[in-house]
Structures are given as C-alpha cells and as structure tokens.
C-alpha cells in the first residue's frame, strides 16, 4: 500500500526548500504566534500574514490543490467550533429559524467571530502545511532536535511518522480479513465485538512490533538518541528569514494595537 506522504513536495529545490529547517520551524511558530495574538474580530492585521504566506507558497512552488486538500482534511477540527459561534454568540440576529421546540438566532457578532476564528485557523494550518511542503519531515525533526525540543518528543514523532502507515495497513488487512468472512454484514453487536477484537489484536501486535524494533535498534547500539549524519547549520540567509518572520509576526500584532487600540 502506498499512502500519500505529508511531505511529498518537500524534495523540491527552490530557495525556500533550501532554507535551514530549524529556521523555518521558528519562522512558522512566529507567524502562528502573530496570528493568534491578533485581537478578536480584527481582520485587517491578518492580511500581511496571509500575503506573506501566499508569497512563500508561490516561492516554494507548492501546488495549490495540495494545500487546499490538506486544509480541508484538517478543517473539521476547527469547523466544529466555528459553526457553533453564529448561534451561541449573543448579538443582532440576522437570521432566525425554528429547530423543533427551539428558536435559533444567527447573530451578526457570531458570524464575525466565526469568520475570524476560521481565518486564524486557516492561516495557522497553512503556515504549518507550508513548512511540511517545503521541508522533509526528517529535517523538521532534526530542526526540532536542534531547537532543544525534548528528545522523547522528537523520537516519538519520528516513530509515529515511520510506523503510522504500517499500522494503518495492518488495520486495513485485519478489516479486510473480517469483511471476507462476514461480508461487511451481520448484527451490529457481533460486528462491534469483532471490531473490539481487531483493536485488541492491533494493540498486541503493535506492542510486539515495538519490542522487535527496540531489539533492532539496540542491536545497532541505540543509546536513546536518534542521530542523523547530516547536520545543517544556520547561514546568513536563514537568520534573515527568521528575522523577517519574527518581524512579520510583531508587525501583525503592532498593526492590531495601532488600529484597534
């Protein structure tokens, strides 16, 4: 089975691909922080951030469908919150409808709040996606390690990335084996029970695999650190890039304070 990898376009050769991964990670965090710190319902300060991300998007030659598809994939998490704002936020009703015994008011303030939240979410997700679209995942991990992110966290991420697809394949094979025998039919109680069985077996297999992987690592001298042979170093252009991103984040917050007090 081949799954689409998160970083399928990360092997590109553009200028932004060549930037240091640690620098790009810090820059991404700066942009996200700037986005988050813009006051609520204030749209204008988000514009420079969006323009900068669009420029980075273009510079990295990231295909638009790639970004849009992945934004769609992650959006349900935010969508669940965003759809509730228009009806929960008190304010001037713009649309009223009945839902069974209740009367639901969609308010103007609620719509603005929902729009603002959606915009902030999209900008943050876009920044993260662009980091992954222009940096190989292992380089991001190396960058995180160099930024002194706790080792356990980095190692955990590395293994998640390496084995997630293998686990998904394993689940798929077990589900196929089940479907081959029950035809995807049968009483839901039996199906639920067998589903629980699949989960149990998956847990045991994962546990066994973890032990075998540990053996394979220990057999090659694992000492708790995941070394990688090639270490990149921050150069002038990387510092400039980070400074630019931090300045951009600060500018968004500054603009917010200047415009709205």
């Amino acid at each position: 089975m081949h799954h689409i990898m998160l970083d399928q376009f990360a092997a590109g050769k553009t200028a932004v691909h060549r930037l240091d991964p640690a620098g790009k990670t810090v820059a991404t965090l700066a942009v996200i922080l700037g986005t988050v710190l813009v006051g609520r319902d204030h749209f204008l300060p988000l514009v420079p951030l969006a323009v900068a991300l669009a420029a980075y998007h273009a510079a990295g030659r990231t295909p638009l469908p790639y970004t849009l598809k992945r934004l769609l994939v992650v959006s349900p998490f935010a969508l669940a919150v965003v759809v509730l704002f228009p009806i929960l936020e008190p304010g001037r009703p713009v649309w009223t409808f009945g839902l069974g015994p209740w009367t639901v008011n969609v308010t103007e303030e609620g719509l603005v709040r929902a729009g603002h939240l959606a915009a902030k979410f999209l900008l943050s997700a876009w920044a993260t996606l662009l980091l992954l679209a222009t940096t190989r995942f292992q380089d991001v991990l190396q960058g995180l390690a160099r930024l002194r992110v706790p080792r356990a966290f980095v190692v955990q991420l590395a293994f998640l990335y390496r084995y997630l697809w293998i686990l998904m394949d394993e689940v798929m094979r077990m589900r196929q084996a089940r479907a081959a025998r029950d035809g995807g039919l049968g009483p839901w109680r039996v199906r639920f029970q067998s589903g629980v069985g699949v989960l149990g077996v998956l847990f045991l297999r994962t546990y066994d695999r973890a032990e075998r992987i540990y053996w394979a690592m220990a057999a090659r001298g694992f000492d708790g650190r995941l070394h990688a042979p090639i270490q990149s170093r921050m150069q002038g252009k990387d510092w400039l890039f980070v400074a630019g991103a931090v300045a951009l984040g600060c500018a968004a917050v500054g603009l917010d304070r200047a415009l709205y007090g």
Binding site: H2, H3, M5, A11, R136, F137, Q138, L141, A158, F159, Y161, R162, Y163, W165, I166, R209, R212, I213, W215, A216, M217, A218, A219, R220, G221, F222, D223, L226, H227, A228, P229
Partner: protein
Amino acid sequence: MAEPVLELVDVRYRYPTGPEALRGLTLSVAPGERVGLVGPNGAGKSTLLLALAGFVPAEGLIRVAGHTLTRGTARDVRRHLGLVFQDADDQLFMPRVIDDIAFGPVTMGLALEEVQVRVHEALHAVDLEGYETRAPYHLSVGEKRRAALATVLAMRPQILALDEPSANLDPRGRRRLIQLLAGLSSTLLVVGHDLDLILEVCQRTVVIDAGRVAADGPSAEILGNRELLESHGLELPLGLAARM
C-alpha cells in the same frame, strides 16, 4: 585451528510464559564460516539469535568475537554481531534509507566522513545506490530486505546473523539475495527454512530441534539426508530432490 568467532556452550533459555526454547545448545563457528541453522518451527532458532545479542537472558556461555556475553558486555557483543531481523519493517525505523544505514555507524561514534564512506559502501554492496533519500515505507519487500542488510553491513560486523532472509521474496529478489550473501566475506549465520538458499550459501548446516543441536555437518551431507531431515520436520531441498 583458529579461535572460534562464535562459541556457545550449554545455552539454555525458558520463556517466562512458555516452554524451554533452548535446552543446552552447544555450537562453535570458525571465522569466515557460513553456517545454516535449520529446524522445525519452534525449534529455538530465532530465540538463539536473540540470545546471541543478549536480548533474552540465556544461561550458559556465549562468546562472540572474543567477548563473553554478560549484561555488561552486551553492547560490545552487538558491535560484532550484525543481526538482521525477519521483518525488514522492524529493522528500518528511520525516515530515510540513508539515515537508517548511517544509524549503526553513527551510534558507534564514527566520524562523519567515515560514516559516509560506510553508508555508500553498504548501499553499493546491496545494489541500492540512488535510494539514499527514499522512505523505507515506499520500498518493495526485496528492496527493504536489502536495505535492512545494508544497515548491518555498514557496521562491518564480524558475524552476520540473518533470520529467514528470503521470506516473502519473489524468485528474482531471492536470487539477488543469494548472490549478495555468497559474495560476502564475513562469518555468516543464516536461520531459515529456505534449504535451497542455505545449500547454495552455507558450507555447513546445523539442524536445531527442541532447543539443541540435532545434527551438524557439511551442508551437502546434512541437506542430502532425507531421513535426518524428515525426522526433524524438514524436507530435502528442491535442488537436491530433483536430482534424486
């Protein structure tokens, strides 16, 4: 006779939840020797490999490349013993092939230049040049198997121990593996049921059954003995059966 590179005397191990897997196994392997370890399922072959690297705490004497295995020396022993596991996905745990092959040399504390030399040497040996930045997940079974072998070759171990190296390989992949193994100069332990592969690669075969050595001798002799093989749940290799 040269000092054995691998020496096992009365090695015993019982799994905490199960039967005794190794019951007084004694074996000696000379440097450069290629030994096939065969036997029925549950004979203790894979457990033996785990015991060699100190992953299961076996009783008895285990000496690898002059190092007697104890809890304190397990790391030294593993430097000299290149263990290749049956499932290559367990062996290839890094995001890229190159990182995986470099893993062993880097943890050995080698300088970056030396690591690079060894990585390229290992990639060349298994014919995977150009695969450096590929994700192990996207390799075929045969490529994964060869990459797994490269991860260990890069450490230049004195003994290579392979568990079922030809499992799930197609005939072409298997043929390539045989050629690759036949061309290696290190001491080789090959565990498996692919008796034809063992016949081609190993000059000596050891039959293991019920946790101890049941027969030991030249491969042509052991693997040509139908009675002996059948009494241990095995069959004549197809290559020999066709001639008889």
